[in-house]
Amino acid sequence: MDRVLTVAKSEILTLVKTKFFIVGVLLVPVMVGLSVGFQMLAMNRLDQENRTVAVIDRTGLFLTPLVKSAAKYEKEGNGDGRPGPKFTFEAVPLDGRPLDAVKLELSAKVKSKALFGYVEIPEAVLDRDAVEGVTIDYYTETPSYDALPRWLRSALNAEIVKQRFARASLDPALAAPLTRNTAVQTLGLLARNSDGTIAPAKKVNQVQTFVLPFGLMYVLFLAVMMNAPHMMTAVVEEKMSRISEVLLASATPFQILAGKLAGIAAVSIALSLVYLAGGAYVSVSFGQWDLIQPALVGWFLVFLVCAVLMFGSVFLAIGAASSDLKDAQSMMQPAMFFLLIPIFLSAVVLRSPASTVSVVASMIPTATPFLMLIRLALTPPPPMWQVLLSLALTIGTSAAFIWAAGKIFRIGLLMQGKPPNLPELMKWIRA
């Protein structure tokens, strides 16, 4: 045990002095903060460009309301206190010219940047008997900018409804109140308080339904990713500089492996706790007390240790089996694939945590730490038997991986030259 602790202590000191760790602890949160800040700044300030849009209005009714709505939108935005972008509209009369010729001319203007785009509003939009299949066509060279068509859809439809009311001899002023959308609010369930009163249902917190589960999974992923591959590189370097043989003269391969794994686990936990503390601070600052869930932090730490032991032993075994960094990098690809699968599946689990796909995926030991954590962070939580079964499978798999890595360590650390292929690795494990 002393040897394991000595190796672990040395690995911890080595890891925390690496650029990876310093970058991880300090720069990643700074970079994430800068990125969020930049996006907010971009939303608030940077979209100041004036986009001029030509309008072929076959009804002759929409230009003035559009100009008015655009001016209001520029000033008030979506009503969230932030101003909207500036859209300028100019009418394009056909003057007897063929429609295609006019559209071709406008396309040239868009290409030459004289216009941002143009809109064609057909007369049929007002015809209540022929509205099926009728579209307002928006032409642009920049389809990725969707703020304009999104705004056009709502602004034009509001005006179209007004015009249809007028045509139906109804008061256009009634259009807005009669066609107003009613929001659907997502709420939790009611429960009875201990005093017998009924507690009102809570409004579902969007941050809790997405940011918390995804954030926890991402922190876990980062903690594994930032330490395990680095430790693999360290093992290869120890092999290349013949330190391995000195270590083997003082400790068994398993003690060295266990010490290194303990080192990765300790550093990963420390790194994660720094992130979680940061997240908790931000949550409390924004009054999101619901996000602080000690039980979830407990599960996070349990799954973090499982993930570190599982992937750590795989990466360390790869390091022991490789003769140089190039070998290690090519052998690491399959392990990386297994590490990334849960990230790809996370969207499915977030959307539908109790679906068969989510349940099965969260039972696969290499994915459990990430996906079961997401499920635990969502409501309703998964049945306890699923959590315990997945945890048992993960602990079993971690133990099997550590055992196999110990076998590979024993032979691999002294091996030089061509790296083993899969059958040879299996032979080492069975030896």
């Binding site: 040897r3 500089s241 013949r242 043989e245 270590l247 003269a249 068994t252």
Partner: protein, 307 residues
Amino acid sequence: MSAVEIRSVTKQFASVVAVNDLTLAVPNGSIYGFIGPNGSGKTTTIRMIMNILVPDRGDILVLSRSSQSPVRDEVGYLPEERGLYKQMTVRQVLRYYGQLKGKSARELDPPIKKWLDRLQLSEWADKKVLTLSKGMSQKVQFISTIISQPKLLILDEPFSGLDPVNADTLRDAVLDLRRSGTTIVFSTHDMSAAERMCDRIFMIFKGNKVLDGTLDEIQSRYGQDTVRVRTSAGASLLARQPEVESVNDLGNVQDVRLKGDPQAFLAKLVQQTAVYHFELKKPSLHDIFVRIVKPAESEMARPVEVA
């Protein structure tokens, strides 16, 4: 009482027998020389003593115990290929290697200071290993091997690559350790160092033990068939004599290995040339090594005849 006892040990890698039915006893408090050409099985034997490799057959007792885990702390091992953490300071690396042998930092600090002083490395104690010269690194590696005050010390080529002054410094340190009761297994290709330092010598060749004994025993076994000669005619005349097996031309003198009686050869030689020096000589370890290895290498190098 033996510090190391190897009993009928065999180790095979795939189809290659690296060590074949080896039996050996290293007496307590001795310096035991391991010699043999590259790839003969020396390092495999040492790794088995260190329990880094496990024998396929046979037993190894180290400090009278077959269970290696507690013994590991009492054995210091300097591998042929040196390994130090380049980013650590000299003091950190010495402490780490000492702690891996079960010592605390407090126990280690006095011997670290003592040995750094003795090997003139005190100024480098808090410098990173990567700033050291090759010779300095080698001295640090040596200190790391002995810092835990092991009862058995296994040194694989401890002086290779060192300048004569540093080699002498380390040699003195090794002899001091022996005087204080440490048993030393000393693997080397430096035959003269083995002759000077070792109480007993063991040679392994192609996995088999071919020599084991004191230097005198080994030299007696190979007979007094070598003479050192200085004549006015030089090596060419000597090589032409039918009684001569081989001539090792050392410049002004020649070591001549004879097939027959040295006195008869001297009588014949004085009739052919002026003889200034004629000395009966025991075969050196170098000669014995070459005698064992060379015929086998010539055999291997002989082209295969195709029928």
